[in-house]
């Protein structure tokens, strides 16, 4: 079964159409990247799937179920999102414990919440001593781990990742990327990741779609990306701009 099927998606913000005719499929258990620069509409696609962007036409279906235009409580247990900015995605007045136990409270999940919180902290590589800290007492990498932990509390099968490492330092980015890769392997997750960083796609993803000015210009396999075999001239330009001397 496909995890995500998108067909002819046009998303608008107010009067402006931000994406045109987007179509792609993500298989279950796959890691798929939406690549593009700012203004390409890639984050908008993610928001439409999540229900944060409500004005769209076309069809979106997740695990076989067509998506409505808004947020869906049931959907929350299938799909969650990790945001880009580790400084903005955690409530400044809530401890890590409060942030992680909230989804359990919202959905009336039974059992020992405290234990589940601690297990999740272990799973994302955070020491338990961080459990009652506030976000301003955590580093960027630690906050992002909390954000990932929060997304996984409801045990979703699909994770939407909006540039999860672009606001992080290089050394921290490596840790988070390793974590994401490990979690996907351990829990059989499906990833749809938005990024502008091609090497991250090479590391973490199986397939990618290149977007430009609201349209998909190419869909390819990561193998093609690594060999520099993308076809569309814009894609090739992006590859060239990513290549760096220490890597030739």
């Amino acid at each position: 079964m496909s995890a995500i099927v998108i067909d002819n998606l046009d998303v608008s913000y107010g009067e402006t159409k931000v994406t045109r005719g987007i179509g792609f499929t993500v298989a279950e258990g796959e890691s798929f990247a939406l690549v593009g620069e700012s203004g390409s509409g890639k984050t908008t696609v993610l928001k439409a799937i999540a229900g944060l962007a409500r004005t769209w036409t076309g069809s979106i279906s997740v695990f076989g179920q067509p998506r409505g235009h808004g947020i869906d409580r049931g959907f929350a247990r299938q799909c969650q999102m990790v945001f880009q900015d580790p400084y903005g995605s955690l409530h400044p007045r809530k401890t890590v414990d409060a942030v992680l136990s909230e989804p359990l409270a919202i959905h009336g999940v039974g059992g020992d919440h405290g234990k589940r919180v601690e297990d999740m902290l272990d799973a994302v590589g955070l020491d338990r001593k961080f459990r009652f800290r506030f976000p301003h007492q955590l580093s960027g990498g630690q906050r992002q781990r909390v954000a990932i932990a929060r997304a996984l509390m409801l045990e979703p099968k699909l994770l939407l990742l909006d540039e999860p490492t672009s606001a992080l330092d290089v050394s921290v980015q490596a840790e988070i990327l390793n974590l994401l890769k490990r979690l996907r392997r351990e829990q059989g997750l499906t990833y749809l990741m938005v990024t502008h960083n091609l090497p991250v796609v090479s590391f973490l993803c199986d397939r990618l779609a290149v977007m430009r000015h609201g349209k998909v210009v190419e869909i390819a396999d990561v193998g093609q990306l690594k060999r520099g075999e993308l076809v569309n001239p814009y894609s090739r330009e992006l590859i060239e701009l990513s290549a760096t001397p220490s890597q030739t």
Partner: protein
């Protein structure tokens, strides 16, 4: 040939609840008319270093150094008035995000003109000519039209080019660029870097390029300083980066994913090797 900039034992200290903390811990370097890259992650002190050269760090921060000489002038002993004459005219700084560094209520032309007027007295016609000429030199095709626009009406890349124009119009000798391309799209980055490169070469300026992007700095600068937690851990010629000796630099290079990535796991920095 005297060096353009001579820094010896520069220290920047901030008071905190737990006592004074050194964010720059006594670093030394010199700069000729070349391109020096200062690379580091957040908290490394690289931006503080740039700002302390321009004496832009205000109380409660404190800047001390054995030497902080710019072209023979001791920057530590200059009065605020003398420093104002140096800032912009002889040392200039480009910052990261034009959204925040350009004045939103002044037109682009007015801001560039202001940068010029602060240091020279010219007639209106002369100013306008200089502004347009400067906009052209940063490859803005329609300078008359752009000069009348406000910052929010132009794209990020163009905003950054405006910032470069503004900072280079007084023709300084030293340019400090603090993450000038981090807020820009990949396709625009190359163009902006090209413009900076061109202007720096043409006017024989010195350039300090501060960034977190090791690869970018190595391809763009002549020499590199790698900073970690306030100290310089590596100093090398740009082309020699692969032969970096310090474990932090090596670790950083290894941790960056490659386009043709084959590793299953990225090597993670083990800071216990050198952490203070």
């Amino acid at each position: 040939m005297t060096n353009l900039l001579e820094v010896r034992n520069l220290r920047v200290t901030f008071p905190t609840a737990r006592g004074p903390v050194d964010v720059v811990k006594g670093i030394s370097f010199s700069l000729g008319r070349e391109r020096l890259g200062i690379v580091g992650e957040s908290g490394s002190g690289k931006s503080m270093t740039g700002r302390s050269i321009l004496r832009l760090i205000r109380a409660p921060g404190r800047v001390t150094a054995e030497r902080l000489d710019f072209d023979g002038v001791d920057l530590l002993r200059q009065s605020e008035k003398q420093l104002r004459a140096i800032r912009g005219a002889r040392i200039s700084m480009i910052m990261q995000d034009p959204k925040f560094s350009l004045n939103p209520v002044m037109t682009i032309g007015a801001q560039i003109a202001e940068a010029l007027l602060t240091h020279q007295r010219l007639g209106r016609g002369d100013i306008r000519q200089r502004v347009h000429a400067m906009l052209e030199s940063v490859r803005i095709a329609d300078p008359e039209r752009v000069a009348k626009l406000y910052p929010h009406e132009v794209s990020g890349g163009m905003g950054q080019r405006v910032m470069i124009a503004m900072m280079l119009i007084p023709e300084p000798d030293l340019l400090i660029a603090d993450e000038p391309t981090s807020a820009l799209d990949v396709s625009v980055q190359a163009q902006v870097l090209d413009i900076i490169d061109d202007l720096v070469k043409r006017k024989g300026m010195g350039l300090i390029f501060i960034s977190h992007d090791l690869n970018l700095v190595s391809s763009y600068c002549d020499r590199i300083l790698v900073m970690y937690a306030g100290s310089v851990v590596e100093e090398c010629v740009a082309g020699e980066l692969q032969n970096a000796k310090h474990p932090y630099t090596q670790g950083l290079l290894a941790a960056i994913p490659r386009l043709n990535e084959t590793r299953d796991e990225l090597p993670v920095l083990d800071r216990s090797g050198w952490a203070a």
